[in-house]
Amino acid sequence: MAKFTSILYDTFFEIKDRKIFWLYWIVTFVMILVFAFLPDVKINGQNILESGNIPEEFVAEGIAMFFNGFFGFMMFLMVFGSAGLLPSYLSKGRVELALAKPISRTQLLLIKFLSVFLIMSSIFIVSCSVLYLLISYQAGIFTGYFFLGLLVAIGKFLFIYAILFFFGIAFNSTAATIMGYFIIWFVSNLLEAREIAYQLLTNKVWQGILDTAYHILPKFDEYSANTMSVMKGNGFSDFYPVWSSGLFGVIALLLAILIFKRRDY
């Protein structure tokens, strides 16, 4: 337990030292200010949320849509905030200090992964929850489904960070980690819309290749559709993107461990 808490403690201080950590709070604070003053926004002389012209379901849907977008933006910041953590930990002169401790490489890497995930998720939960509580208070609508959606969104960060972790180990560079991640993200999003490409690609072999790539890669947008669905209280819309993306994350993490165990530092 001492090993876990000390790596967690170290990771917390490192994240706190990064400017992007403060950016999360600035973004959250700005959003809080925006929504704190929202009751003053008037339509036809009436408060936007008290006008009675807007049905409750519509407001709830609007809140869910807003948070789905906000989660995406916060995830984007989290990618930049966490991509450099592992390359920094593995940098020359620092990694030797960790490797010289009586802790196996697998244990070291898993604890580091868990530490980053726990701290980043905590920041995400706190900032999103504070914002949601304010908005729900202003709108007079509160639903526990939001928090379920929040958990699903955190699940997305789990496989996102596994991908970052893999590139972090493989390339040992923050820039290459971010590039690697965005290549996967870009290709995955393209593949999610592969039906359009099928209209141009009559060749079945190519269709097969695109299909296989789609099934292998994580499904970012389709996963987010689940977050939205859960937040609206409709449960998972399609479980396939959840488990297949999770599987990709597990494989990425296992590969990262394998590379780390074999590598010389």
Binding site: A2, K3, T5, S6, I7, Y9, D10, F13, E14, K16, D17, S91, K92, G93, R94, V95, E96, L97, A98, L99, A100, K101, P102, I103, S104, R105, Q107, R262, D264, Y265
Partner: protein, 315 residues
């Protein structure tokens, strides 16, 4: 030697680094075998690129050996538990500079399996010993190189290790700090700890080490007690008030290898130490006043240089 007395055992250890896509290879260590006894201060010497840091990194599990084996306190270095009793100060370390000195010790103490109570007590003592108590709550990014080195030493000792690996521990430390580090090493020896010291500062190694090994191009070229490498030679320097020409000529005749250094100083290498008496007899007969007869000691640096140049047989 009883096996239970051995702190480190390295058997025919080789390390080859593959470089580039063309499959180039660099042999960093070549069939190195050595033993370090418990309680010794062992110095590993060698020019830059000799493989000293590579060997330490293999012993601490940061590098994987290509061939051969190594153990620390009886445990194979591939087993993480072999580092239970070890402390390490790497060369060119990069400490987490977003932390304070005390916070860093908390992290590395915890990673060694210490409880927070133990860390608190050890940190207090160690920061005192390395002279860093005043700066314990200052961010590491504000530390000087010497301060980081002192903190690094405290970090290496946080788990009260039985064996301490130090890679260039006095790098960037001022002469006073070096002396203090030397004193700490001597104190560790008194406590029965084993110290494995990598250093290119030969005078420092000579002052503290019991045994040394010399590496060159990945090969172990000499290992043995420091006293063996810094032996008193059969060369003497004789000093007189004034050496008359007549005396100098007689000495040259009796000892053809004698070298006249100045008009009152002469250097002679004797084949037999008893020949010193014959020389003194010659000088006294000629009423030359002898002020000193100094045996010339071969320093570790001299031995080291001779070994590297191949002037002395390896062994």
């Amino acid at each position: 030697m009883n096996d239970s007395n051995i702190a480190i055992e390295v058997k025919e250890l080789s390390k080859i680094f593959k470089s580039g896509l063309k499959g180039g290879e660099v042999q960093a260590l070549s069939e190195v075998s050595l033993k370090v006894d418990k309680g010794d201060i062992f110095g590993l010497l060698g020019p830059n690129g000799a493989g000293k840091t590579t060997l330490v990194k293999v012993l601490l599990g940061a590098l994987h050996a290509t061939k051969g084996s190594a153990s620390v306190y009886g445990l194979d270095v591939r087993n993480a538990n072999s580092r239970n009793k070890a402390g390490f100060l790497p060369e060119n370390h990069r400490f987490p500079d977003y932390m304070t000195g005390a916070q860093m010790l908390k992290v590395y103490g915890g990673m060694s399996g210490l409880s927070s109570g133990e860390i608190k007590a050890r940190s207090k003592d160690l920061l005192e010993i390395v002279g860093m108590s005043k700066w314990r709550d200052m961010k590491i990014k504000k530390y000087s190189k010497g301060m980081k080195q002192r903190l690094g030493l405290a970090q290496a000792l946080i788990n009260d290790p039985e064996i301490i690996f130090l890679d260039e521990p006095t790098d960037g430390v001022d002469p006073v700090g070096r002396r203090e580090i030397r004193d700490i090493l001597k104190r560790l020896k008194e406590q029965g700890k084993t110290v494995f010291l990598n250093s290119h500062l030969l005078a420092e190694v000579e002052a503290v080490c019991d045994k040394v090994a010399i590496l060159d191009k990945g090969k172990l070229i000499k290992t043995g007690p420091v006293s063996e490498l810094t032996r008193v030679s059969s060369t003497y320097q004789i000093e007189t008030i004034q050496l008359p020409i007549e005396a100098a000529e007689q000495i040259k005749t009796a000892f053809p290898h004698a070298k006249l250094l100045t008009d009152n100083k002469i250097s002679i290498t004797f084949e037999d130490p008893r020949q010193l008496n014959s020389l003194i007899d010659i000088l006294r007969k000629l009423n030359v006043e002898i002020t000193a007869a100094i045996p010339v000691k071969i320093s570790l640096e001299d031995s080291f240089m001779q070994l590297l140049r191949g002037e002395v047989k390896h062994g």
